[in-house]
């Protein structure tokens, strides 16, 4: 058993070192700095009685999530015996910084709480499997097939979209109802552009990069405008003096969507599953939500549009 575990441990160390190597010196320094910052914050926080249990519980929750979500359970069960002890050692290693902090502060009771928790986690035999349902409402049929982001997004967020949209309409007499509905649905729609497509899906357009991107933006803008039109009309009917609010919102959110589309294709890779860069996504949302900086977001989108065209050129050059 010790031999087997030693091999696994060696593999884990190699993977960790490889990860550090691929990070590069600059990112490594940033990660190191952030880790140190986080550890110092934890060190300060556990000095008060109020926070110490919360932090210990959070640490246990992290270990629990790792245990539930880890994909190597079967591999370890087959090759390592006993499997639970190897898990226990791993969770102890993960919790080591916190344990050291607790030892320094002399929090013996919390240490005992942590020990019990870490001992208990490997015994849990639970795997979360979310069964996705195929929502095939007539709404999907109304969406054109080339707007697959909308088809998938509406299916994924159907209930939240319907609830927010419905509440917005029902509570139209309240000034904030419709702007809030436009805001939430706009953010949900922005989320449609996070998953990326495979290259055969892009080829199905049979268009050059510029034309394909403009086509996608135009089609999205049109559908988004159609969806928002009832909300905007209702708001103007009930609150004529504030007519400009939904328009500003609509334009801000549309800018975010255009930014998302261009960023997605600027980061597109042929060889795999594509997802938009979350850092760029969040930056875009923050810039787009401040009305003063919205034009700036459109300028960045122009830059990403150029970048996306260059990025897609090797794939779509035949359609020029």
């Amino acid at each position: 058993m010790i031999f087997q575990f030693g091999n696994i441990l060696r593999l884990r160390c190699k993977r960790f070192l490889r990860f550090l190597y691929f990070l590069g010196i600059f990112r490594l320094l940033v990660v190191f700095g952030l880790t140190m910052l986080l550890l110092s914050v934890i060190y300060v926080l556990i000095s008060t009685e109020k926070n110490v249990y919360l932090i210990a519980s959070l640490q246990l929750l992290v270990c629990l999530m790792i245990h539930i979500k880890r994909k190597d359970k079967n591999f370890l069960r087959i090759h390592i015996s006993p499997f639970k002890i190897s898990c226990l050692i791993e969770y102890l290693v993960i919790s080591l910084p916190l344990i050291i902090c607790l030892l320094i502060h002399g929090r013996w009771l919390v240490l005992l709480y942590m020990a019990v928790g870490i001992l208990f986690i490997p015994t849990i035999n639970l795997t979360i499997r979310i069964r996705r349902k195929s929502f095939n409402t007539s709404m999907q049929k109304l969406i054109p097939s080339d707007l697959y982001e909308w088809k998938a997004g509406v299916r994924k967020n159907l209930f939240i979209l319907l609830a927010v949209y419905g509440l917005g309409i029902c509570l139209v007499c309240f000034t904030v109802a419709i702007p809030v509905a436009i805001f939430i649905t706009g953010l949900v729609v922005a989320d449609f552009f996070i998953p990326g497509e495979s290259w055969p899906m892009l080829l199905s357009f049979e268009k050059a990069p510029e034309k394909m991107l403009l086509y996608k933006i135009r089609r999205h803008f049109l559908l988004y405008a159609i969806c928002n039109l009832p909300l905007i009309v209702l708001f103007i009917l009930f609150h004529q003096d504030l007519w400009y609010i939904p328009f500003i919102e609509f334009l801000s959110l549309s800018s975010i969507h255009i930014y998302m589309i261009t960023v997605k294709f600027a980061c597109f890779r042929i060889d795999g599953n594509n997802h938009v860069n979350y850092a760029l996504y969040l930056t875009g949302i923050f810039i787009g939500l401040i009305p003063v900086t919205t034009p700036f977001l459109l300028l960045i989108s122009v830059y990403f549009f150029q970048k996306a065209c260059t990025n897609l050129k090797p794939l779509l050059y035949d359609y020029n």
Partner: protein, 227 residues
């Protein structure tokens, strides 16, 4: 006719996976690409299709540069979009007779692709390629992950496509899959076509290949097992 001349592809400078490959592929034929793991089959497909930049050489279709417009390509690994159904995926390429195609391969078209098994995903990708109605069809390992019934249906589909005037290039690790349907088999080794054989020479090809493998490896296997 597809003419591939002096085709060279590499990922790193000084190391070419495909080296000055020359090959002629006749119209209305099914051509198998065989070879060991790492012999450059997938690279060959990716480069002919234009997913990888070639170092030198050219690929011509009847004397004109071959473009993606004329090719439907099934890569070895397939990625799909989350939360869309098989029907929605296929309708991106062509709306015509989706249900009948789905029935043929027994695909639940109204289920989201994320819930498909590996084999189902392969079938969906195959259907999308067939439905593109392109002159040249390139299939990298199309039989991988398919059940016996689907393998046979695919063979029938490919033979019918050939009759309809399409040119098909496919690769497989299973020699039998190739000898059953191909008109020509081209054997790749170290990024070059080592030899090409037509239908009449397939028996010979299998014998030659297996005797080559046996002569290269029997002693090694004996030593390893006896140790």
């Amino acid at each position: 006719m597809i003419t591939i001349k002096e085709f060279t592809v590499g990922y790193q400078k000084g190391f070419n996976v495909i080296e000055s490959l020359n090959l002629t592929i006749n119209d209305n034929t099914i051509n198998g690409i065989a070879g060991r793991n790492g012999s450059g089959k997938t690279t060959f497909f990716n480069a002919v299709f234009g997913l990888i930049k070639k170092e030198k050489g050219e690929v011509l279709l009847n004397g004109q540069k071959l473009t993606k417009k004329e090719i439907a390509y099934l890569p070895a690994e397939n990625y799909f979009y989350s939360f869309i159904t098989g029907r929605e995926y296929l309708s991106l390429f062509d709306d015509y007779e989706i249900d009948k195609w789905g029935c043929l391969f027994k695909l639940p078209l109204d289920v989201i692709v994320d819930d498909y098994s590996t084999g189902m995903k392969k079938k969906l990708a195959l259907l999308s390629v067939v439905k593109q109605n392109k002159q040249i069809i390139m299939l990298d390992e199309p039989f991988n992950g398919l059940d016996i019934e689907s393998c046979h249906i695919l063979k029938l589909v490919l033979l019918r496509l050939k009759e309809a005037g399409k040119t098909i290039i496919l690769s497989s690790h299973i020699m039998e899959s190739l000898t059953n349907i191909c008109d020509y088999i081209h054997y790749l080794e170290s990024g070059k076509v080592k030899f090409s054989r037509n239908k009449n020479q397939f028996n010979e090809l299998e014998k030659d290949l297996f005797s080559m493998i046996e002569s290269e490896n029997t002693d090694i296997i004996k030593k390893l097992i006896d140790y």
